[in-house]
């Protein structure tokens, strides 16, 4: 986790201090810290001369800009129709069993957060999921076991 103030200065220097820079900055913070803390958001607001409520309102609009603490690896399982038809429920079950958390929760060691999301654009290879930015498709129970085991080792 990077210190908010310096991170935001760095991002603002890179992307600018216009309103249009807000999204790249929010994305940059999430990339580094996994989520947007309240202090991060107030710092961003001050840096861009916006109100904190405006920053909060923008962040909460986007499902990838989490305002709740998230684990190091955020797993988002597609719940839209073709993935659902092809066994998304089993995939979620497998993940819940392996990580011992439910959808929406984070493991106590703050390593994994398990979420559902809408269509990821891998419908022809569903079920699919994202772990942070990386897509995984054609999921089966075995495949999920292999993938998650690798992450657990990391």
């Amino acid at each position: 986790m990077t210190d908010c103030k310096s991170l935001i200065l760095e991002l603002a220097d890179k992307y600018g201090r216009e309103r249009a820079s807000l999204l790249p900055i929010l994305q940059g913070v999430v990339e580094r810290n996994n989520y947007l803390s309240d202090t991060c958001m107030t710092d961003i607001a001050n840096e861009l001369d916006l109100s904190a409520a405006q920053v909060y309102g923008t962040a909460t609009f986007y499902s990838f800009l989490d305002t709740q603490p998230r684990g190091e690896y955020v797993i988002r399982v597609c719940k839209t129709i073709t993935c659902d038809m092809h066994g998304k429920k089993t995939i979620v079950q497998t993940l819940e069993d392996m990580l011992k958390i439910k959808i929406g929760e984070t493991t106590p060691n703050k390593k994994f957060t398990l979420l559902e999301t809408n269509c990821l654009g891998w419908c022809h290879e569903g079920p699919a999921m994202l772990i942070n930015d990386t897509p995984y498709s054609g999921l089966t129970t075995e495949k999920v076991h292999d993938i998650i085991s690798e992450f657990i080792k990391k």
């Binding site: 109100s51 409520a53 405006q54 909060y56």
Partner: protein, 597 residues
């Protein structure tokens, strides 16, 4: 001249200027299309969709508020398609709405309710979504209550807070079925940058944003035989109260208001205008003192420009947003708080009352005054200086509750003392008024002559709303004791609405402008457009109230604060001299920086 556009609405062909919306064109024809998210003061949102109309040869129903008239358009505002769609939309709004109107403060004065009754929505077409929602009510604030269960998400409040006030304490959060109006992280309005100006409350079409009302507490005090209940009324109340009671806009109802207050049972009906005059004396001297320190003593710690401090919304704005400018605020309390402090000291002494038996009530055009009265700083009398603050709207409700026929009441006069005032105090209710009143007095103190303006009217500071106005007065032929001001050009600026105040302060901060004295009122148009004024308030209405205020000033026998006889009396009997020890104790204060979120 703007290009003309011809269109047909409900069979009537009209020509309108290019850029006119279908809604405006219809209103010109006295065809009333219902609206909810639309408000004259705000940019168009086009999100509620109740204003849809049918356009021939077009599949979808355009939102009339958001669609400019186009050549040859044929519009039907009440076709079968429109009626069905409109009814669906209102039914949808009601389905996610906690519509127990009889428990709602806005009952009888609610735009949603009005539409629902127009549309006979009794049959509840759709399922009730309220049980699925986790609505919350923010009750922590002393001025404003926010009840999400009554919100129709029209975003009027959000646009108000952003566009008129540049505060953006309220925003839109989340999306889809979770979309809601929210402060930062859903904190209470009490904790965030909200200035309590109440502009959002004034524009909320429903009961989702309302003032915290103290009507019952005030009735209790009135009925309590052991209490002496004094009431003060702010300058801007008398130009708007009539509207809340069915009278025409822009009618001054001072005499009837006094009569009504007496009939409600207040022990003594007094006037905030009195302390407005007092503010001018204190603030005028403070300004002159600061100028002396700066010009003669070359004291680098003196903060100029000095800024007025009558508007509690403005004060809180500075505390949050420009805390480095706190020293620039005049240390004078607002007239309301000066009055409160004197009510439980000077007034109590003179009337031989125990201050603990006095309940001090104020009638204000303002919701921020409720917050101000509850500030810990505001207890210099040893008690809470002002116990309850009611808005113009709340007074309107009390008058209705008491069954008074307001229009038929006789014109009565304020009690004395602390009831007499001047034209200078009256204009406090409008943007530029404090500045004008202060100049009338300060100039005369310094030069011994009246301000060099026709009929004492310093028109330059009046101007129109929505801009920062500047004025300068050359001071010459001064009295000997003010010789340091000889030839000084006194530079002033006036702003109303916090969005303009922000621009002004940014310019000051960036060194783009230099002033000696600035007046800021948090609300558009000044107090006459306050958040506690009757609903609706919009530019047209504010203009009428403003005209009324300046007419009232012209009609007053005394038009300069320092000529108010009761003011001379209070200095003689009680305060001693302006900025004296007693004044400092009772009439001046200081503020503290606050977090910005």
């Amino acid at each position: 001249m703007a290009k003309k556009i011809n269109l047909t609405i409900d069979g009537i062909t009209v020509a309108v200027d290019e850029g006119t919306t279908i809604l405006e064109a219809a209103r010109n024809l006295n065809i009333h299309i219902p609206t909810l998210c639309f408000h004259e003061d705000l940019c168009v949102a086009g999100n509620c969709r109740v204003c849809v109309v049918e356009q021939e040869k077009v599949k979808n129903l355009p939102a009339s508020c958001a669609t400019p008239a186009a050549e040859g358009m044929v519009i039907h505002t009440n076709s079968m398609k429109v009626r069905m769609a409109r009814k669906h939309i209102v039914e949808l709004l009601l389905s996610e709405h906690n519509a127990d109107c009889t428990k709602c403060y806005k009952n009888g004065n609610c735009e949603l309710q009005g539409l629902a009754s127009q549309m006979l929505t009794g049959d509840h077409l759709f399922l009730d979504l309220v049980p699925d929602k986790k609505y919350t009510i923010d009750m922590f604030n002393t001025a404003i209550i926010k009840d999400d269960s009554r919100c129709i998400r029209c975003q009027r409040c959000v646009r108000t807070c952003e566009q008129l006030q540049s505060v953006s304490a309220l925003g839109v959060a989340y999306k889809g079925n979770k979309m809601k109006i929210s402060t930062f992280f859903e904190h209470s309005l009490f904790e965030v940058v909200c200035t309590n100006c109440g502009q959002c409350v004034n524009r909320c079409p429903t009961g989702a944003l309302i003032e915290r009302n103290y009507i019952d507490q005030v009735w209790d005090a009135i009925y309590d035989p052991n209490k002496h209940v004094v009431v003060q009324t702010a300058p801007a109340v008398r130009v708007a109260l009539g509207e809340a009671l069915g009278m025409a806009t822009g009618k001054i109802v001072t005499g009837k208001m006094v009569a009504a207050l007496r009939r409600l049972g207040f022990s003594s009906v007094l006037d905030t205008d009195f302390t407005a005059d007092l503010t001018i004396i204190e603030e005028g001297h403070e300004l002159l003192t600061r100028l002396k320190k700066a010009l003669v003593d070359k004291d680098p710690t003196v903060s100029l420009p000095m800024a007025t401090s009558c508007s509690p919304g403005w004060i809180k704005f500075i505390e949050h947003t420009f805390p480095e400018y706190l020293p620039n605020l005049s240390t004078c309390k607002s007239p309301q708080q000066m009055f409160g402090a004197l009510a439980k000291t000077y007034y109590a002494q003179k009337r031989k009352l125990n201050p603990k038996d006095i309940v001090s009530v104020s009638i204000m055009p303002c919701t921020a005054k409720k917050f101000e009265a509850n500030r810990p700083e505001m207890r210099s009398s040893g008690y809470k200086d002002v116990d309850f603050v009611l808005t113009t709207r709340e007074l309107g409700i009390m008058i209705k509750q008491a069954g008074l026929d307001f229009e038929e009441l006789p014109e009565e006069k304020f009690d004395s003392f602390m009831g007499s005032s001047t034209g200078a105090a009256v204009i406090f209710g409008s943007t530029g008024g404090v500045m004008e009143a202060a100049l009338r007095t300060a100039y005369e103190i310094v030069t011994g002559r009246e301000v060099p303006f026709d009929g004492l009217n310093i028109v330059a500071v009046r101007g129109t709303e929505g801009e920062v106005r500047e004025a300068s007065i050359k001071i010459d032929k001064v009295k000997p004791e003010w010789s340091f001001l000889e030839g000084v050009e006194l530079k002033c600026a006036v702003a109303n609405g916090l969005a303009h105040a922000k621009t002004l302060m940014q310019n000051v901060r960036d060194g783009k402008v230099t002033y000696h004295f600035i007046e800021v009122m948090a609300c558009p148009g000044g107090c006459l457009g306050g958040g506690g004024q009757p609903i609706p308030t919009n530019k047209e209405i504010r203009t009428k109230r403003k005209i009324a205020i300046y007419e009232e000033d012209m009609g007053m026998p005394i038009r300069k604060s320092h000529e108010n006889p009761e003011i001379a009396e209070i200095y003689k009997e009680f305060l001693g001299q302006p900025l004296g020890h007693k004044s400092h104790e009772l009439l001046h204060t200081h503020y503290t920086p606050r977090k910005r979120y």
